[in-house]
Symmetry: C2
Subunit: 619 residues, 2 copies
């Protein structure tokens, strides 16, 4: 990854900030801030839907934009999010009309509820207690409890400090409370400073969001690679590693907790919040990720029947895992549904209100561990499927995450392939969305068979345009390599190609998800055509093109595009919600217990479906 | 203290064991085991009430006993507890008819209730869980919770071990449960091995009792000096020491916790119980003792208005204070009533069922910190009074605890004083009960004025018998010393005398308690004559003679002796009860909240009453 200095972009009216590399499109920066913009033209700059306005730090317009806006509008800072890049620190206003409809619908729904529903587990009260006298000589803790009209428990460490704190502050100060528990007592009125951090702990990517617990606002967001990838890029290899010895298990726990701790510190810096004012961290991850970060034994997750250690959500002191927050802060770990279907899925169900869906609704969370949930007739079924990390750019020879230099889009103009590179840079690799595009274009051009075989130059049909045909290069072993970009000599620019082996990985990933969808529908006696809505989740989900996802068979083809909605990082959204609302947290716990876990891996039908789904659909 | 090897005495039918020095009277050994025997003759061996039967380890009879029993009875092991000493390991059967009536009434009442009421916070269940299968793949913790029909929380450390434990035991084992909390999971069926320890944490003396939590039986008991005495012998000097710096506060905490830990280990050894099978410790002490052992700031207890840090009982993990019990065992600290009236008083109220008394009832706990509770008309008032450690033998020139070599009884036969020494040894000092006897006899003989002045030889009235008169020795400073025993040359035998200063200490101690009683009665508009019952508590209380306590004014004189009852170590009994019964614990918490704390030290009436109570009553 390049080491460039990142710049800050703040989005209005919600006030979220993210740090991005200069050259990042506003569209991508907005997505990182949890805002999915409407781009029906696929980001070509032709529909003019994704208009946003710089209120500070505007960058020069591109040709597509001068065609869309009047010179006055350009001067006022109006741009197309899919065209203009961030060059330096900026503030960008996003009109509600530019938000993607489904997000507008689902996330705003959630956010409106959130505002009405800000009832976090942790809250603060500034108190002014009467001084003790002979006539009023109640114990310190009781004096506070009486004032708050609530019995209070607390731990010995705070009880040891309380008399000194009360007297230093003249019996005035701020009580930090959580469920009849006195979490802390702070000098002065700190009641406005009450924060929490929500995390999506992915197999490949970690995303953290700093929230103001007094009003539910998000103050900062950050993401990074899960450092456990160096011990294996999917959950099974991590389970294998951790099962070898308690020391190795500790190693996996330590690296991810260190990263989480660093992300918390980073969030605190960017929002100027002191880490001692963070009282709770909510973590949503798949079963394996949650077990590993708690330091739990995962041996039994590596063997049939794949039994987790816990199912209900866990709440424990943050110091037990050493996170850099308030001394007596706590950690909430999302409940597990069963097997490999974990807390990230529960968070997704919570964020999308899937449990309250009207018609048959499918949620697909496309990640290294793919999760599929079907809601129908007040019932919920969930399954996980080992898609592997291909969609996140791993196990692909030139694969990479969706960062600077990644080919994120591949479009055919009928003559050749046109590549979009993140940061408008020279390409250094290809990310998941680019891979989906490429596979779709290869199928359309006829340069690849539905069985996934890249045709050698001499077998290419005449219909393949010459420029595309020239990209197919035969290898000595009979396989073919497809060249996206040739190296031109600089260090940062690489030769980006796709091999037959890469395409096999894509087939496996696509087939696993597709077969999972089919099997889950079978459980409810439904066919794909019955689905009212398909929700695509995952940070990644915001960037893939629906038509191409259907073309390669990742999503069912007999569903109209209008029924397919991107819901962004639903896991993170659910974690955010559970952090600011105890009722929402309880709804999540309830949904987890109500959801039937479907174990696919041992199902003979699944093996059949999987084999079938590996074949890409005919045009 | 002598370093002799102690021997074990086991009392039947209750099975309690204590360790005593050879030469200890059965009466004393029984008292240490919590059994107060009936001795209307004052332990002279004349009434024959305290009869007991050796079933093993009988010692030779004394003359008084051969007069009381037939030769057959002597052969069968019958003895008088007030006459025969323990010479080696023994088992002694105590008939119910030999128990002191009030104890019989009060303690047996409590014990009967206990038996019906054994509902400890901690309990165990042996479980045999079905093996997980693909069709039954619930998480480990849920599998256990479902089997126990109870949701279970647990901490991360156990969650980390649980999968291994379940699989090692073939999904069979013993769950240790406490309030929906999984405290531990043990291999095999250990459901019979469930123990707790109750402690009375006195300013001067620590007493611990090991209980079987499955049936409430006591398995062993032990006591030792509170090692904090080296930092000051009353609560105020300890508060002063602890307030000097956090390091000194830690020092006081560390010494008492180390002693408690050693006593737990000693109890485990004597009852052959593994410390990992002890899951809870209940601690009852006065406010200062409880604060110090929790490591709490006591600065504000040293200043008007004497505010404690906590009032409701505390429950925290034993590892927070480092006690040697099960890893996830817990500590319960009794609630505080207010000021210096702490958990030992609450425990006493619980043990004596004072809150449910019919007529006006007074409980007096005679210790370094004297506590007085009055129950009348469903109301409770409590006060503490700084009696000082004189009754426990401290601050007295030849004072000592009631151990080997202590003069524990002083009786006049009209000609001279007769001394009873613990262990029938040569006297090395005098303990509290001996001091009360001595003061009463000095008053009766006319060798001391009601104002507490020891008369010099030349002022002694003619009525003082010559042998007693010879014991009064004038000092150069005009004061008089009273000689109880002259040194005869051996190392173990000392010259035991009482000085004018010693008598002033006794006046202060007696006056403090007496004034407290008067003030508390005033609160309820009662006079001493209205009292239906006076309960004398304290391990010490079992040995003082009621008539002498009344003679010196420690107890009101206008109450018939029959209304005065010894209730033994009520604080320890209450701690025992709270350990084996959650309902009893809640009754204690309730009583603590219902009791009105009366702060005597700042009351001008108290100062007047105190000055008056310092004068010993006229004959």
């Amino acid at each position: 990854m390049p080491n460039d200095v990142q710049v800050r972009v703040t989005f209005q009216p919600n006030g979220r900030s993210v740090y991005v590399l200069p050259g990042t499109k506003i569209l991508e920066a907005a997505a990182r801030a949890g805002l999915t913009l409407d781009t029906p033209c696929g980001g070509q700059g032709t529909c003019g839907k994704c208009r946003v306005q710089f209120t500070a730090g505007a960058c020069p317009p591109r040709d597509t934009e001068t065609r869309t806006f009047t010179p006055e509008q350009i001067d006022q800072g109006w741009r197309l999010a899919c065209q203009t890049c961030i060059c330096h620190e900026a503030v960008v206003h996003v009109p509600e009309s530019s938000l993607f409809a489904s997000q507008h619908q689902i996330l705003t729904e959630a956010q409106t509820d959130q505002a009405a529903d800000v009832l976090p587990a942790i809250h603060k009260h500034y108190v002014e207690l009467p001084d003790p006298t002979l006539a009023s000589d109640a114990a310190d803790l009781e004096r506070l409890a009486e004032h708050l009209h609530s019995p209070l428990r607390t731990d010995l460490s705070l009880l040891r400090e309380l008399p000194g704190l009360l007297r230093e502050g003249g019996f005035k100060g701020t009580a930090v409370l959580g469920d009849h528990q006195l979490v802390d007592f702070e000098l002065g009125d700190t009641s406005r400073e009450c924060y929490g951090v929500a995390f999506d702990i992915g197999t490949t990517t970690l995303v953290g969001s700093l929230l103001d617990l007094t009003d539910g606002r998000e103050l900062a967001i950050t993401s990074r690679m899960n450092p456990q990838v160096s011990f294996g890029d999917d959950v099974l290899s991590r389970i294998q590693h951790a099962s070898e010895s308690p020391r190795r298990r500790d190693e996996l726990r330590a690296v991810v907790l260190q990263a989480i701790g660093e992300m918390i510190e980073e969030l605190c810096r960017s929002a100027s919040v002191h880490r001692n004012r963070i009282y709770e961290v909510a973590l949503a991850g798949n079963t394996t990720m949650e077990h590993l970060l708690c330091g739990l034994d995962v041996t039994q997750l590596g063997q049939v029947p794949f039994v987790p250690v816990f199912a209900r959500g866990l709440l424990f002191p943050a110091r037990e895992v050493g996170l850099p927050i308030a001394d007596r802060g706590s950690v909430y770990v999302f409940p597990v549904i069963g097997g490999f279907v974990g807390g990230d899925t529960v968070a997704g169900i919570l964020a999308t209100r899937l449990a309250e869906s009207d018609g048959p609704t499918l949620m697909v969370d496309i990640g290294t561990n793919g999760e599929i949930v079907l809601a129908h007739d007040k019932k919920l079924w969930a399954a996980s499927t080992a898609a592997g990390p291909a969609f996140e750019g791993a196990r692909i020879s030139c694969g990479m995450r969706a960062t600077h230099g990644a080919i994120e889009k591949v479009v055919s103009n009928g003559e050749d392939l046109h590549l979009s590179v993140i940061g408008n840079a020279a390409p250094v690799g290809i990310c998941g969305s680019g891979l989906i595009d490429l596979v779709a274009e290869l199928l359309r051009a006829g340069a690849m068979t539905p069985e996934g075989r890249l045709l050698p130059p001499d077998e290419l049909p005449a219909s393949v345009p010459p420029a595309i045909a020239r990209r197919a290069v035969g290898q000595g072993d009979g396989n073919t390599e497809f060249v996206l970009s040739e190296q031109c000599g600089t260090v940062r620019e690489a030769r980006v190609t796709i091999t037959q082996r890469d395409l096999r990985e894509m087939q496996l990933a696509t087939g696993a998800i597709r077969a999972g969808i089919t099997l889950l529908l079978k459980q409810a006696n439904l066919r794909t055509g019955d689905l009212q809505r398909v929700l695509i989740a995952g940070g990644f989900g915001s960037f893939i093109r629906r038509s191409n996802a259907q073309r390669i068979g990742l999503l069912p083809t007999d569903i109209h595009r209008d029924r397919i909605h991107y819901v962004g990082n639903a896991s993170l959204n659910g974690a955010r919600w559970a952090l600011v609302s105890t009722p929402a947290r309880l709804r999540g716990e309830d949904a987890a217990r109500r959801t039937t876990h479907v174990e696919l891996s041992q199902d003979m039908d699944f093996q059949m479906e999987f084999a079938e789904a590996m074949i890409f659909p005919e045009a």
